[in-house]
Each structure stands twice: as structure tokens, then as C-alpha cells.
Amino acid sequence: MPWRNRSGFGEQIAQLSRWRWGEMLFWALALMAILFFENRYLLLTEIAWLALFVLSLDLILGYAGIVSLGHAAFFGVGAYTAGLLALHHIVDEPVLALFVAGFSAMAVGFVTSFLVMRGADLTRLMVTLGIALLLRELANRFSDITGGFDGLQGIVMEPVLGLFAFDIFGKTSFIYCLSVLFVLFLLARRIVHSPFGLSLRAIRNNPLRASAIGIPVNRRLVAIYTIAAFYAGVAGALSTQSSALASLDVFSFDRSADLLLVLVIGGTGYLYGGLIGALVFKLLHDVLSSWTPQYWQFWIGLVLVMLVLIGRERMYRWVMWGPERIGRALRARGMAKEKSP
């Protein structure tokens, strides 16, 4: 609770970024999934890389307030880079390939960030969407490299770090994706709790005031956009490495739109939002597509519409009603104990 200590700004930030028991529980549960859901590794793997992808969008949308309809662009760059590296045996070791893919997406992110910084919301939407479509066209035109609509096929992954081979049940790939997610999550956590992260939130809330107190708005936005592109690229690379497939579909508009939905389900502006959103979305998707394989998109659309109509904040209050009551009760009991002796 930040209001308790009055010993300076640094202390407050440290307080905010302290690990809470809920977070530890979250990651403990994620670890337990390795043991308990042995026949659902494929789904779990998808959840892990989707969570990373959403985390990336959360960094720019939730923290910096940049609405993007083309975030799949970086996912796609990462996916194709990882695929090509493995296919042509340029970089065989998956973790190293992951870095290369991430950095290539980062480079694309850095270059395009200057385009995105121009103009207001609508122009940004159009430019991000346009960039993703442009890359899709490129991948389609250079089909001799990318495989066109058939995608990259025949990718064989080498063992991770030369030690852990990918197995058919997907256990290695899940543990691999989960570890990457965890490491990058730690990094993101560090970023958003740093003064840099705070300045991003200031920019999101009011760019004009932020620049008035001396925050270099454009430079910060370029920085976070580039970082987010790295994350998205790594997510794309993970998806390619775990499924041994990369197709044109990685750039599609549906992917960017779904991503927005995932983030909104979980809640924008806090890191676990993306992770929870990915979990809920994939489970929902799994249930819906087994129930109605052809028309599941209708129900996804309905969820989106309802979400906006009911209001994201109200929804969040409803969901948090139970946990908050429990938390309050626990705290009240704790206080009573402190007083009694």
C-alpha cells in the first residue's frame, strides 16, 4: 500500500513492484500445469505464446496508449524469421534463433514506429493495419522464399540448448515457451515499474502534460514500440518453433483483431491482464470450436460486443467482487488478531 510509506519516491516504486502472494500463486499454478495436464500440452503451448504476444500489445496499448490494428506484423516477421532460420539451417539452436527473430522484428518495429507516431488515433489504426497488410502482400509475392499460401513446410527443430529435444507430446515445447514467457514477463515487469514505465503511463493519460513536465514523448513511444515489437517477434518465433509451421496467416487481420479481444478480456494496463486473457480466450476458443467448428467466430464477436456494451470496467468489478470480498475478510481478521493480544 503506497500511502503508508512517505519516505520518498524510490521507496514507493519499490513498494509497487514488490511481489505479491497472488503473483507467486499464478506462476506456481502455471508450473503445476506441466504435471497435471499431460494430454493438453498443445493447447497450453498455444496459450503460452499467445500470452507473450498479448503482453507485447499490452505494453503499447495498456501502458502507452497506442491503439494498433496491425500488431500481427511483428508476430509474422518473428515467425517467418524463426522458420527460415530453422529451415535453411542458418541458426539451428532454438534459443539463439529466438533472439535473432526477436531482433529482426525489433528492427522492423523501430523503423515503422516513426510512421506510427504521426497523426492521431485513426491515422495510427490505418498505418498499423496498412503495415501488416503490406508485409502480408510481401510474404505472398515472394512465395519462393516464404512458401506463399502453403507456408514454410518441413521445419525440423533442433533440441533446445542442444539438450532438450522436442517430443511429440509437446512437453518440451510447453516448458520452453513457459520459460521464455516467464523470463520476458520478468523483464516487462521491470520495465513497467521503472521510471521509464511510469513516464509511459503519464504519456498515455495526457501526452501534452507529459511533454510539459519534460518527458520526451515521441522518443519514449518509439522505445516502447520497439520493445513491444521484440516481444511480438519472439512470440511469433515461439509459435513457429512449437508448431514447426509458418504460413501467411500469421499476418492476417483476424490475428490482430483477436489479439485486441484477448487483451481486453484480460484487462489493459496491467501485465497479468494479457496472461489471463490468453488463458480465457484459448479455453473459450477450444470450447466454442469443438461445439460449433464453423461458426465460433460469431460467439467471439458476441463476446466483444457485449464486453463493450457492458463496459470493461464494470465487467472487471463484477469479476473481482468475489476475490476482493475474500481479501477484505482476510485482512479484517488479520487486524482483529493484531489488536487482540
Partner: protein, 289 residues
């Protein structure tokens, strides 16, 4: 030279069609500041209404065009009153999410109702084939599109500049608070305009089924085109979107003819370049306030 004129003719027809499809979006965006990505869904509704009327009920093609307009306008009116009006003043993120949700729903619903294959509208023989004008092949259907769309554009321009409703609409676009203060029923103007814009999209969908192709993925496929028209053209007048549509139509047809390898690449590059150089659109005031 002859191919040049053919391309120009086809491009103009295509551009006019895009204008009729997208001008409703320009008005919604300029007037209510709502990013309506679901605009294509109204066009699709009109297209399918026309297809059902012509192919299954045997209504003549020219009679089913106004029907397509009415169906889409009715859907637009109902949705505006029920759903869209909650979106005015919300963040662009909310609007994007909401309308993307509507697009997904419409795609799946049409897929369920009409099947996922492409639908063709049976055209009367008078509209099929082409004839020569000084050696340039002129498609009858495209000629009809140009005629209908230019008449519509003229009528629109007249309505906006000469009628009382037009001046109310312009007042509401310029400053809706002052317009309310002057006693203009702005929500009602909004609803009528939204319905009219949706109706025009429906008409465009019916006219465009032959050229653009009509299948359940129509709203997703052409969303980017509508948005290009609006962002490049601006929303302060209808001349902006009109010129932008013509530019887009001719550019797209010419690009596909001269550099078929690049496909839609030309259009996207053009759009990004224009938006970078002039974030507020080529013509006049910005769409995003």
C-alpha cells in the same frame, strides 16, 4: 492508348462504386467520430438482399436495388438506435472492438444463413456484354454503375448544400453542441444520417456484387478500402472522399494491370505514404479529432 482508356473507364467505375460504398462511413466518422469498421457488413446485407430478391423471388434487378437500399437502411437505423448510440463519446479502442465484434458476427451469421460460397446476382441481358466507343470497349454494367453513382453523388451534394436537412447535418458536424443549442435535434439527425449511409452502402453492395464479388468475408476484405477512402479523403466534405475513391479505383485497376505481380501492394504503399505526408488526409479537415 486504348488500354489506357479502358483502364481509366474501369477504374472510374470501380472508384465510383467505392465512393457509394464508403461515403456513409465518411459521414459517420466526421459526424459522430465513430470508427465504424462494420460498415462493410451493411454493404454485404444490401448485396445479399438484392441477391435473394433477384435470384429466389424473381424481382427485376432494377427494382431490387432500392430494396437493397431500404433493407440496409432499416438495419442501420435499428442498430444505431439500439447499439451504436452507446458508442458516441467512447474511446476509439471501444469503438474498434465493438465494430470488429459486429463484423465477426455478421460474417458467421451470413455464412450460416447463405453458405460460404460466392453469390452471383442474375443480371438482365441488357446489362451484359460491352459495346465499342471509338475502339474502347465499354462494359454496359460498368457504364450503368458510373451513371447511377454520378447521379447519386450529385443528389448527395445537392442534399448537403441546398436542403434544410443538409444544413442541419453540416451544423451538427461542425459543432454538435452549438447545433443542439440552436434547437437542432442532433440525435435524430445522427440516426437518419447513419441509416442513410448504411442504405447507400447496401446499394453499393448490391451494385458491386458483380465487380467486387459477394461472399461472407466481404466486410473484412473491403474494410481497408473503405478506410482508405475516408482517411485519405477526409470527412469535411463529400468531394474529398469522392476524389479519394476515384484515385483509389484508378490506382488499383492500373496497378493490377501494369504491375500485376505487386497486387494490392501499390494501394497500401500509396495510403501509408499519403498518411505520412498528410496525416489529416489529402483534402481538408482531419477525420480523427
Amino acid at each position: 492508348m486504348v488500354t489506357f482508356f479502358t483502364i481509366l473507364f474501369d477504374g472510374v467505375a470501380y472508384g465510383m462504386l467505392l465512393f457509394v460504398l464508403a461515403c456513409g462511413l465518411a459521414v459517420t466518422l466526421g459526424l459522430m467520430n465513430v470508427v465504424n469498421l462494420a460498415h462493410g457488413a451493411f454493404a454485404m446485407a444490401g448485396g445479399y438482399a438484392c441477391a435473394v430478391l433477384v435470384n429466389r423471388c424473381g424481382v427485376p434487378f432494377f427494382a431490387s436495388l432500392p430494396a437493397a437500399f431500404l433493407v440496409s437502411a432499416a438495419i442501420g437505423f435499428v442498430l444505431e438506435r439500439l447499439l451504436y448510440r452507446h458508442l458516441y463519446g467512447r474511446s476509439h479502442l471501444d469503438q474498434v472492438l465493438f465494430t470488429v465484434g459486429l463484423v465477426f458476427m455478421s460474417v458467421a451469421a451470413v455464412d450460416y444463413l447463405m453458405g460460404s460460397s460466392q453469390v452471383f446476382i442474375n443480371l438482365p441481358p441488357a446489362l451484359q456484354g460491352q459495346f465499342d466507343v471509338f475502339g474502347v470497349g465499354v462494359g454496359r454494367y460498368r457504364l450503368m454503375i458510373i451513371v447511377i453513382c454520378s447521379l447519386l453523388t450529385l443528389a448527395l451534394q445537392m442534399t448537403l448544400t441546398r436542403t434544410r436537412f443538409g444544413s442541419r447535418l453540416r451544423a451538427a458536424v461542425d459543432d454538435s453542441r452549438v447545433a443542439v443549442g440552436l434547437g437542432i435535434n442532433v440525435p435524430w439527425v445522427f440516426a437518419l444520417t447513419f441509416a442513410f449511409g448504411s442504405g447507400l452502402a447496401g446499394l453499393g453492395g448490391a451494385l458491386g456484387a458483380e465487380i467486387l464479388g459477394l461472399d461472407p468475408y466481404f466486410p473484412l476484405k473491403f474494410m481497408i478500402y473503405f478506410l482508405i477512402v475516408v482517411t485519405v479523403g477526409g470527412t469535411s466534405s463529400i468531394t474529398g472522399p469522392f476524389l479519394a475513391s476515384l484515385l483509389l479505383g484508378v490506382g488499383d485497376v492500373a496497378g493490377k494491370y501494369y504491375v500485376p505481380k505487386l497486387g494490392a501492394f501499390v494501394i497500401y504503399t500509396m495510403m501509408i505514404a499519403i498518411l505520412i505526408l498528410r496525416p489529416n488526409g489529402l483534402f481538408g479537415k482531419t477525420a480523427a479529432r
